[in-house]
Symmetry: C2
Subunit: 451 residues, 2 copies
């Protein structure tokens, strides 16, 4: 077999990169569980009719076929899920009788889209979603809760650049458009959503031509979209535009409550702002909407998005409203890993290499390794009984910080920190490394520059 | 949307079942890392020509196609991987220049096969693989190592039934077949492998008719296959059959070393035995072979299999020998979960429900929850300010053991263990539950019967 080449759009990580991703996923999971969110996984496949309900994404779906399938077998009409929301909505309907509502779940899984690959956009990628789903109703305070959870989680991803969470509320903007007399508020929302890609003047022209607004109405919509604030001062600025509408008032109250509810949690690492230009175009959100930018990676677009669905799922009799956020784990990490901005300081989990004096005494080295593992110290025994200098270089190449030398008697064991050269006597039954050395550490390029 | 129904062969778990699976995966990962194995993930797809190299599995492959694909685009010829060995071999070749050998990796991922679903056999399933791969050579002691790692891992899955690991060595049986003068030892191996499905008499007939053995040769092959021992006493029993062959000697020495090397690790939870009937039929093993039975689930067949490949991968210039074992996580767990033999004692990670006095004081309850989380205590705040009796039942339905009642002053907080009714004063800044309560526990049906 010739040397294989990577498949475009299907990123894979080396062990020292995968460790970074694993640490992100572990941190997310820990925070989600601290907030009472239960982990689930859904199958990778859904019936095509489910996947195509949002008509716009049809081109992205991977369809499955069994190689030996000759008829329209049971698998005909299955495709790989392109997000975790469609499968979750189906899971809730399918298992509603066995779930307790409000149901808080997190889900970290791969999804697939047949899009043209580009930086941050992959054909296979990992998403981390949190959602809270109610039965028939879901009070607004859960919108605040889900935001607080994601802010808490992102705050703990210490080695990543700062995040800026942008929130808005569809009721606010839809009420505003209704209040100024827009004939089709949904169309206005769709066009205003283009402001991050098109110049304001172009959008203004579209608002007049495609949404039937007067020039003055279009200007007010654009003026609303310029409003940003890190606190609830946006309320006064919207009021100053002099538009009145009950839905607008409801949206203002919700968005203000959300920004206030997160005030104590934000800081340098994660900031939050009301940004009245955020609309989330075609998605079926009905209230709160989120987008998130990663500092230094703004070209990736939103890396963590979501919002409130008044009908995440419905079986005709019961409706399940939900609110959730989805973090694009691959979208955030893979570009940083690919350009070497993040890497672990080891290629292996081992913190100790147990040196080998001769192949005949491998059993003794194994026994030391077993003793270390009993105390939770990851370690490995040297592969061959080379000269100790070579065994030390074996450890160095892998980033293993300690080498253990077996003594002839228990008191004669020595452990060497190969970074400093310091070598001390140690007992395998009790020795543990400093906590800081126990697991591989993530090194960001900023750290490396400081060294 | 009507209520969806499950897809046969694509099992999904409720939160209280997923917790069990997650705990198994966490334990496996912890043990693998203690032994210095690095975690990787490979993409879900491989080129079809790679997947079809083992011709026999072709019927099981799921082929992908982009829905809007009109030509033979870049994705034509991709399929979902049906195991983790094929992708790992490709990963090693693709990244050989960036890996350190011997390369120890673990990989816990889903795989897909379009087989007819049955108990323990699914179309989507999770595998946990460990492998050690060398460059050009891989000393035999790594066969012992990989077995020890899996024995260590299985030993820590406390809530699962006992495991019986059966080991053999292809050199041993191939050398034996050569030694008795079999014209086609590989064909003998393929037929002997049928002993777990067919009666010995039937296999004897096939050995004569299909492998060209004399009746006496066939009898000796079957006699070899009856030999089992938990220690290295099988060596004498094989020698007593009076067959001489250099490959047989090599196999005997390796298998004896493997059984002796694991002796200290086995016990009631995991037993190991040399079982000379194990051949692993069509797979490309060249030395050590493993199978594993789960007590009480013998009908599932082997739930953890593997062995030594002298050429796991090769690019023509360099050959990468490997030895590994693959645990069928879904095959072991899903039948036990489906019949209720295993379940977690909570539907949520929360150990505390913080009660809510009124919607107006939600901020105070949130502050208590934040304080508890700072100390690593998973918790959630009540969804609505119902009567406390209803809030306690809310906790009971989810299996949350503690309910926290907010006091008017810091000293007045109370926490109630709703299992015992005991209620004590507590400080949210310092209170933690007993360690045993911190995470949901796995309850096996044996435990339940004892209650």
């Amino acid at each position: 077999m010739a040397k294989p080449t990577p498949l475009s759009g299907f990123p894979e990580l080396l062990p020292e990169q995968r460790f970074v991703e694993q640490q992100v996923v572990d941190t997310l999971r820990e925070v989600f569980e601290l907030h009472g969110f239960a982990g689930i996984e859904t199958r990778a496949v859904e019936p095509m009719d489910q996947l195509l309900r949002k008509g716009d994404t049809s081109k992205e779906v991977y369809v499955l076929r069994r190689l030996q399938e000759t008829d329209a077998g049971t698998d005909a009409g299955l495709g790989l899920h392109f997000d975790l929301t469609v499968p979750f909505a189906r899971f809730v309907l399918e298992n509603a009788g066995k779930l307790e509502f409000p149901f808080r779940r997190y889900q970290v899984q791969k999804a697939w889209r047949g899009e043209r690959p580009q930086d941050g956009r992959y054909r296979e990628f990992t998403q981390a979603d949190i959602d809270i789903v109610g039965k028939d109703e879901l009070p607004f305070h859960h919108d605040v809760e889900v935001t607080r959870v994601m802010v808490d989680a992102l705050s703990r991803l210490e080695f990543l650049p700062p995040f800026r969470l942008q929130v808005n509320n569809r009721k606010l903007i839809q009420g505003f458009y209704t209040g100024i007399g827009a004939p089709d508020p949904a169309e206005v929302m769709r066009l205003v959503d283009k402001l991050d890609k098109l110049p304001a003047d172009t959008v203004r022209g579209m608002l007049v031509e495609e949404a039937g607004l007067s020039a003055e109405q279009a200007d007010r919509c654009l003026e609303l979209a310029t409003i940003r604030s890190a606190d609830d001062s946006f309320v006064d600025r919207v009021r100053a535009l002099g538009v009145e509408d009950p839905l607008l008032e409801e949206g203002l109250a919700e968005l203000a409550a959300l920004v206030r509810g997160c005030a104590g949690l934000t800081g340098e690492k994660v900031s939050i702002e009301a940004d009245l230009s955020i609309a989330r175009g075609l998605d079926y959100y009905t209230g709160t909407v989120f987008e998130t930018r990663l500092q230094g990676s703004e070209s990736l677009g939103s890396i963590c998005s979501g919002g409130r669905y008044d009908a995440l799922a419905s079986d005709g009799r019961t409706t399940y409203p939900g609110v959730g956020i989805s973090l694009g784990v691959s979208r955030v990490l893979v570009p940083l890993l690919n350009r070497g901005a993040l890497v672990a300081d080891r290629k292996v989990p081992s913190v100790v290499l147990v040196a080998l004096t001769s192949e005949e005494t491998r059993g003794e080295s194994d026994a030391i390794a077993t003793a270390l593992r009993t105390n939770g110290v990851p370690c490995e025994v040297a592969a061959t009984a080379q000269k100790f200098g070579k065994q030390i270089r074996y450890a160095e190449r892998r980033g293993i910080p300690y080498v253990w030398f077996t003594g002839d008697a228990p008191g004669e064991h020595q452990v060497k920190d190969i970074r400093t050269g310091e070598q001390v006597a140690a007992d395998p039954a009790t020795w543990t490394p400093p906590t800081d050395d126990l697991r591989p550490k993530v090194v960001s390029s900023t750290d490396q520059e400081q060294q």
